[in-house]
């Protein structure tokens, strides 16, 4: 008999749910369940425990569960938490993005059988190739400097699934552009990330025989951050769940839906929650923020949600901070005043407990400059970060973490690193192969253990030893290779991360010695003692003259920022923004006005 891959560690943790009826209901749910989880309500914990329970009690290998989440970072966090419960990614437990799911579990096994008009074996376009083809196809259609935006092209492709519909043609230029671009991709035998989901959806929508196959492999489908996943996944989910008999466990918070520009839509989650055949569960206890912040964020949202703080006695700091000198003044104030005060106000608090949140990378540049001038180490997560976080770069970081001392305490676990490495191979390895690869990786990592070495050397050795061979063999990883190349470049002499050592590479998220600089979007799912939001001026958050829909999303973005904080929120503004033709004095963000007004009315 094969050994159970599931430990019973979840039972001990599940006992902690006793005081929380919502979490308990989700944990005990038998059928389809949608968990509407407020900020800090322990949704990830609930999801992870439920998954562990399902794997231990409800399904047995080779059948299993697929857990789809928004980003590689979210998947990594889930993996980390599951590891504590003695669970890890195995052939019958998928944890990853919707792209990964569509690629590995829909397109690869069934794409050929369905005669999808793409080339097998699949090859994914790197970002560079993609950008080139998008630019060329656009220029060819509309001439250089045309007014159409790439971001809208992506949204259109993702959100209009039926290419024969009026909706698709209604934005004629985007439709033409998309078709020209896709033709160019196919010409080169490539697919891009959006194709994975588009074709994944087509496979599920058009071929009935796929449903029982997916249901056989994954009788349970868990989805995290449902509000951030687009309409394609929503259709895939509905078809699998209501026509394919797959059991659904979805978690999300429509109030935190901030990816509308990519085609995401928080109302899809509410549509599910309203169905008769789905058990809705609300998590209203906030374990993160103190009471003042919980109330204030509900006021900022302008909706009654009934959220409560777990510990009502903790004192909140909520400050509206005017800085007349613009963004750089805000940055300087944060560095000179807020951060030192925050560090001093609680014993044991470190830079890692503090985050500066901003709208986009331009603001990030300003913040970075001030923080560096102030002599603080920092971690920056936004579009101008030296490399994007993809599965491969995350894995390299975790390998660094293991070699930099993690091996002493088994965190991350070597077994998990090996499994994730094996998962990079585009198809199944047989046992002997897997064993050989695993042994080789183990030997390499064992040799590379060294707490003090430049990250550059570590990454070079890892690539030389094993990763470059993997990349040569697996074309599907071309886009991830590009990010690893950028990491390598940044670490090289003269690169922006030239001074990084292995420990910092391994701890690139959540290092106690580094101040966190990140966009509001990247902050989702994170939490900090002290949150400093900058640039809260009309013309920035929100933009001028936003459509009502956009305005609602901006409000949610503001709400996401507020709800990251445990103890302190500092909201910095100047009353004007820098425009193309100089400063534009439009006043501070209306969200601040409303919030201050409501707080005053409530007697804060």
């Amino acid at each position: 008999m094969w050994s159970r891959s599931v430990s019973t560690a979840y039972l001990a943790q599940a006992a902690e749910l006793a005081g929380n009826p919502g979490q308990l209901a989700a944990y005990n749910s038998q059928g389809h369940c949608v968990v509407l989880a407020g900020p800090g309500s322990g949704k990830t914990k609930t999801l992870v425990l439920k998954l562990a329970r399902i794997l231990a009690e409800d399904v047995q290998a080779p059948r299993g569960a697929a857990c789809i989440t928004y980003s590689h970072e979210c998947a990594r966090e889930l993996n980390r938490r599951l590891e504590v419960l003695g669970l890890r990614e195995t052939p019958n437990l998928f944890i990853g993005t919707v792209h990964g799911f569509c690629l590995r579990h829909l397109l690869m096994p069934y794409g050929r059988l369905a005669d999808l008009p793409i080339q097998f074996p699949l090859s994914v376009a790197s970002q560079r190739v993609r950008n080139r083809l998008i630019r060329q196809s656009g220029d060819r259609l509309f001439g250089p400097n045309h007014p159409y935006k790439e971001i809208d092209l992506g949204r259109h492709r993702r959100s209009v699934l039926n290419r024969n519909s009026v909706d698709w043609r209604s934005e004629e230029e985007l439709a033409a552009w998309a078709e020209a671009y896709e033709a160019a991709l196919r010409q080169e035998g490539l697919i891009d990330y959006d194709d994975m989901v588009i074709f994944g959806h087509r496979l599920i929508a058009e071929h009935d025989w796929v449903l029982p196959l997916v249901q056989a492999k994954f009788p349970v489908l868990a989805i995290d951050e449902y509000q951030d996943l687009g309409v394609a996944l929503h259709c895939i989910v509905k078809r699998l769940v209501f026509e394919g008999g797959v059991r659904l466990f979805a978690v999300g918070d429509a109030d935190q839906s901030i990816y509308g520009f990519t085609g995401a839509d928080g109302s899809l989650l509410m549509e599910l929650a309203a169905r008769e055949d789905i058990e809705p569960v609300r998590l209203q206890m906030n374990y993160r923020s103190c009471a003042g912040i919980v109330s204030a964020s509900e006021m900022a949202l302008g909706e009654i949600r009934g959220y409560r703080a777990n510990d009502p006695t903790r004192q909140a700091t909520i400050e509206f901070v005017p800085r007349p000198g613009g963004l750089s003044d805000q940055a300087a104030h944060a560095v000179a005043q807020i951060i030192p005060a925050a560090l001093a106000s609680k014993p044991g608090r470190t830079l890692g407990d503090i985050a500066i949140l901003y709208k986009d990378y331009r603001a990030g540049d300003v913040m970075t400059e001030a923080v560096a001038a102030g002599g603080f180490d920092y971690i920056r997560v936004d579009n101008s970060a030296p490399y994007r976080k993809v599965a491969l770069t995350s894995w390299v970081e975790d390998c660094a973490s293991w070699c930099a001392g993690g091996w002493r305490i088994g965190r991350p676990q070597l077994r998990g690193l090996i499994d994730r490495y094996l998962a990079f191979y585009r198809a199944n390895l047989d046992d002997a192969q897997a064993r050989r690869e695993g042994q080789e990786l183990t030997a390499l990592l064992w040799r590379l253990r060294n707490d003090q070495q430049p990250a550059r050397d570590f990454v070079a050795s890892l690539r030389d030893g094993i990763v470059d061979r993997l990349l040569a063999a697996e074309l599907v990883l071309a886009d991830q290779k590009e990010q690893l190349d950028r990491m390598t470049e940044a670490l090289a002499e003269g690169g922006v991360l030239a001074k990084l050592d292995i420990t910092s590479l391994g701890g690139r998220d959540g290092s106690p010695d580094h101040l966190n600089l990140l966009t509001l979007h990247s902050a989702k799912g994170c939490e900090y003692d002290v949150v400093i939001m900058v640039g809260l001026d009309l013309g920035n958050l929100p933009w001028l003259n936003e459509s009502p829909e956009k305005l609602r999303e901006s409000r949610r973005l503001f709400y996401v920022g507020l709800t990251r904080a445990r103890d302190e929120v500092h909201m910095l503004y100047s009353g004007y923004v820098e425009g193309r033709y100089g400063p534009m004095y439009r006043g501070r963000s209306p969200f601040l006005n409303e919030l201050e007004q409501r707080m005053r009315a409530a007697g804060f």
């Binding site: 008999m1 052939p91 019958n92 069934y110 196959l213 056989a216």
Partner: protein
Amino acid sequence: MRISRVRLINFANFSNIDIETDESIVIVGENKVGKSNFIRGLQLILDPGLSERDRHLGLEHFWDGLSANKVGETVEISVDLMNFTDDPRLMAHLNDCVIDPGPPMVARLTYRFQPKAGLGRAPESLKDYEYVIFGGNDPEMRVGGLLRRMLPIDVQVALRDAEKDLASWRNSPLRPLIEDLAASLDDEAREEIQDQIDEAHRELADHDEVVATSERISERLMAIAGKQHAVPLSLGLAPTRVDALLRSLRLLIDNGVRGVGDASLGTANLIFLALKSLELDRLVFDGERDHTFFVVEEPEAHLHPHVQRLIYRYFLGSEEVGEVKLPMTTVLTTHSPHISSVAPIRSIVLLRHNAADGKTVAVSTAKAPFTQRDEDDLQRYIDVTRGEIFFSRGVILVEGDAERFLVPAFAEALDISLDMLGITVCSVGGTNFTPYVKLLGPGGLDIPHVILTDRDPIDGRVPLVRRRLINLLDVVGDELDHGNMDTDEVIELAESYGYFVNEDTLEPELFASGLADAMQEVIGRELRLAKNAQITLQQWVDDPDHVNKEKLLKWIERIGKGRFAQSLASSVSEDVCPDYIRSALEHIRDVVA
């Protein structure tokens, strides 16, 4: 779930075979033709017990026909599976292996022994080889050990040492049953057994004779070593713990008088198979397996024919135990006509040596163009003697027993040795040759065959043989429009297919061809004919052209056509052989040779 297709390329006896199969598989073939290698091929894909070394083939496993050019070739074996969609666990196992979404959905597993990928040069030896086992059409989709553990092939080899397996505790199929038994005993039952054993032990040990013997030993011990060194001794039963006792349980036969070791080979085999089938039930019940490909090689070993048939029926029928269908695919190999005669007609996979190419070819009945009625017909009529046709190189299909006895006699007279050529004479018991032609034709077993049939003329009407032959010509896919052909044209056409017709019916034909005297003698011996009748018969003998066929046949039928033919057989000679029989015999002789 069942196997629907098997392909073997460059493996052992097989250059390239590709056969479709039905619910269960009965592999029929002469010794050395490759029945075990066929199974071995399946094991390379499905057997969880094979080691990596076992799967790394040697040159001796390549098809011999490759002679010196083996290095560089690829061995490939694949098995297609169907009917798994009603079990989600099987679907999950086979998820990445689907090659046709269907319906019916088909999954494929492939073993390939090939020059290493990325070698960058021609392989020099088998050191440059690797094996892969993959699902579907994508060699990168490797199949792991879990699938083999959960869907294993379980092979009972031909000359198994059942007695030894039963005797050793570790390998015994009895062991899990005893362990279940031990686990099922509650404390009370254990205590009761323990008490009974203790009591029996005490009784035995306290018996005067036993005590006396132990004292004798003790005394001698003391005499040798003295009181200081001698240990106290007694005689008793060992062991006495319940678990140890249970482990020492053995199967006994003949009311407990003898152990299995004393049983005949056949009985030991039978017991072994019974235990094995119980074990399969248990593995499925405990969820340790999701499906078993259960292979018994030559289940007939050491068994009486009727027991062979019973065993066979059991293993092909045993997929349904009560209402529950056991997840099992049965594969049997055999060279016993007893077994093949009771095999479901669509289950036959026939392996045959092709001497010209030095390879084994395979055919199967799974996709033969039988109607349900054909199938029922064959199933009903294929008995042991007809079962022989599966092992034949050529078949002569005849209408009845008369031909069955006489045709071999004529063959001998013509110096055509049917046994040596491997030709069987098979009576279809009537004139319905169609199912047999489908069975033996290219859509089925592809065995050369001829037909001998009577013209059966009817006064003033078209002879019956016309319709009979047209039916056959339709089956063999003749594109001509037979409706417009007259009887003689049809007969002429049929002859080119090896279907031979006489002028009338067999017996009058023989009478006319020079056997009149011999036939008169047999009739005279067997029937007490009236004087008048004797005179009539003599007149016919004198002038065979004026024989009254109806009357002659009536007399022969009174004797029994078979008995009559048997008696007549000793009188046949080359000179008296009717033309159609001679033509048929020469035809089949030439085709087989």
